[in-house]
């Protein structure tokens, strides 16, 4: 009996609901609605977005963790990308705080960006543990990274090709290094480019005959830190200016930050955070 009526029944069913059609319609409407509301802000007030320098990343992340642990439903999201990324995303309004390991460039300064210096950092020359060199003069460093020196034997090392590892172009670390150590020259195009301090360390550690530079906070036993012009890369030497490869780390914000953003910056600059966390790897600014 049922079978015979099936067409009519189907017709009735269709009247009641036609799921596949509805689903398609719903999705099209969703797409349209979402597109239409694209202009409206979807950011929730408790969330702070932070991006930029990988040098500042561990510090910012630790700050975020401690800030969130204080409660109050705040959520701080931190990611890397490089100093330039952070700054351009800050100007585009995508994020709230741009971490940077370099100063603001004139063309980036739209007059609405506020600079907060959060720490002093030291850049360290590091080599693979197989490299038999413990000190390089500033001229030797320049020759190595610009490609004038291609074999370690030219700088009193073993007879092996030099493999230079540098940071990417968005990196504040690289910018500072090029400016101070290379007299504003470019590093050789044959150099391996890495996107972060961490991967420079890993690449130098795993590649025989490699040399690179990382932030002091990243130095560990997998690589060998070497002296620059006979000066050891240590906090004290940076403080009294005998070690020249150092720079400030920054957190840029807009000049009209949301209260929660301002609160986070104040937290990072607080004596507690500076003396407990910053001091572990960098030099406090207060």
């Amino acid at each position: 009996m049922r079978k015979n009526n099936s067409a009519a029944e189907n017709y009735g069913n269709r009247r009641r609901r036609s799921p596949s059609l509805k689903a398609i319609l719903a999705i099209l409407i969703l797409i349209a609605a979402v597109t239409a509301c694209s202009g409206c802000s979807v950011r929730r007030s408790g969330v702070i977005r932070v991006a930029g320098s990988t040098t500042v990343l561990p510090l910012a992340q630790e700050g975020a963790n401690r800030f969130m642990d204080m409660g109050g439903g705040k959520n701080v999201l931190v990611q890397g990308g490089g100093s330039s990324v952070g700054i351009s995303q800050l100007s585009a309004g995508i994020i709230d705080i741009a971490n940077s390991s370099r100063e603001l460039k004139p063309e980036e300064d739209n007059g609405r960006i506020v600079d907060n210096r959060i720490a002093l950092d030291v850049i360290v020359l590091v080599v693979n543990r197989g490299v038999q060199v413990a000190n390089l003069s500033s001229q030797q460093v320049k020759d190595i990274f610009t490609g004038a020196v291609t074999n370690w034997s030219q700088v009193e090392g073993q007879d092996a090709p030099v493999i230079a590892v540098v940071r990417d172009q968005a990196s504040g670390t690289r910018e500072m290094f090029d400016e101070i150590a290379l007299d504003k020259e470019e590093s050789a195009s044959s150099a391996i480019e890495c996107n972060s301090n961490g991967i420079v360390r890993e690449t130098v550690g795993n590649t025989p005959n490699a040399i690179g530079y990382v932030s002091l906070g990243y130095v560990n036993a997998t690589i060998k830190a070497i002296d620059y012009d006979g000066v050891a890369p240590e906090e004290q030497n940076a403080k009294d200016n005998t070690y020249p490869l150092s720079r400030y780390l920054h957190m840029f914000t807009s000049d009209t930050p949301r209260p929660v953003t301002r609160e986070f910056i104040e937290f990072v600059l607080s004596p507690d955070f500076q003396n407990e966390v910053v001091t572990q790897e960098y030099i406090p600014v207060i």
Binding site: L21, I24, L25, L28, G81, G82, S84, V85, I87, S88, A92, E108, A160, P161, I163, D168, Q169, A170, S171, E186, A188, S189, S190, A191, I192, E193, C194, N195, N206, T207, P208, A210
Partner: protein, 282 residues
């Protein structure tokens, strides 16, 4: 019935979405790459090997070269392996074994490229570094990684082609006293030629577009090199490392120009596949 017409229109809209997507992607990428194309100039962009955004040089030839060499390398290793495996599966291997291997190859296609790249980085690169006394990063490492990635594509599509050939073709050849190899060489391969060519071209598409795996093992240097063991970069690897970092302006725009090149590559590949299959139909 009005309702029927309305449904048909809705479904047609769904189908047209693919066109809309391609069009939107093309327009956006073209628009974003305009500053580079006009300010840097077509010639400079594609003939200069000097990539130095901070100093205002935007030559992408070194990366174009990297893309072409790694793709060729990947195909030189991957295509014979893929086509050979397909013939093995279709003609030589015992049925049960063929099924198992085919499933396995499908699985290989499902292994994410970051994972393949990671193993390239921790196994292949140190290995190459040891035997060549170089850094290990470069076109050689990228080619091997790409070969692994195109293998499933080429195998699967070639198997499909071989299976679609009429059984009588093979039986007739064998009945005439030909050995298996003779029948593969003189009957099957010629009959499957276009299909296998299409498989290789689509494998090529995968190799050109592969991003993460290549980025991990190629070294990402700016230099133009023909050496297999020197670090360089491809269009995709440069895109992924620089995109997040490029400030708005010509730098960013020239990255979009690279994407435009990739887009045109993809469309050319599909166009040539179309030409090949149309010829076969005719």
């Amino acid at each position: 019935m009005a309702r029927e017409r309305y449904i048909k229109l809705l479904l047609m809209a769904c189908a047209s979405l693919s066109f809309l997507a391609i069009l939107l992607i093309f327009i956006f990428i073209l628009r974003e790459s305009m500053p580079a194309l006009t300010k840097v100039g077509f010639g400079n962009l594609f003939t200069s090997t000097d990539w130095n955004p901070d100093k205002g040089s935007f030559g992408i030839l070194a990366f174009l070269n990297g893309t072409i060499l790694t793709t060729l390398g990947g195909l030189i290793i991957g295509a014979p392996l893929g086509v050979g495996t397909a013939i093995f599966l279709d003609q030589v291997a015992p049925k049960k074994m063929a099924t198992v291997i085919r499933r396995g190859i499908e699985l290989l296609a499902g292994i994410p490229s970051v994972v393949i790249g990671w193993f390239g980085l921790i196994i292949l690169v140190p290995f190459i570094a040891r035997i060549t006394n170089s850094s290990g990063y470069g076109i050689a490492a990228a080619s091997v990684v790409l070969a692994v990635m195109v293998l499933p594509t080429i195998t699967a599509l070639s198997v499909e082609t071989l299976r679609s050939l009429p059984i009588e073709l093979k039986e007739a050849s064998l009945a005439m006293g030909a050995t298996r190899w003779q029948s593969i060489r003189t009957v099957l391969l010629p009959a499957a030629r276009e299909g296998i060519l299409v498989a290789v071209i689509l494998g090529m598409g995968r190799a050109i577009g592969e991003t993460m795996a290549v980025q991990m093992v190629i070294g990402n240097s700016r230099q133009f090199t023909l050496s297999l063991f020197k670090p360089t970069a491809t269009l995709t690897s440069r895109l992924v490392t620089d995109m997040g970092e490029a400030p708005p302006g010509v730098f960013r725009s020239s990255l979009f120009a690279m994407a435009l090149v990739l887009l045109i590559f993809a469309m050319l590949l599909i166009f040539s596949v179309r030409m090949i299959t149309r010829k076969r139909k005719a």
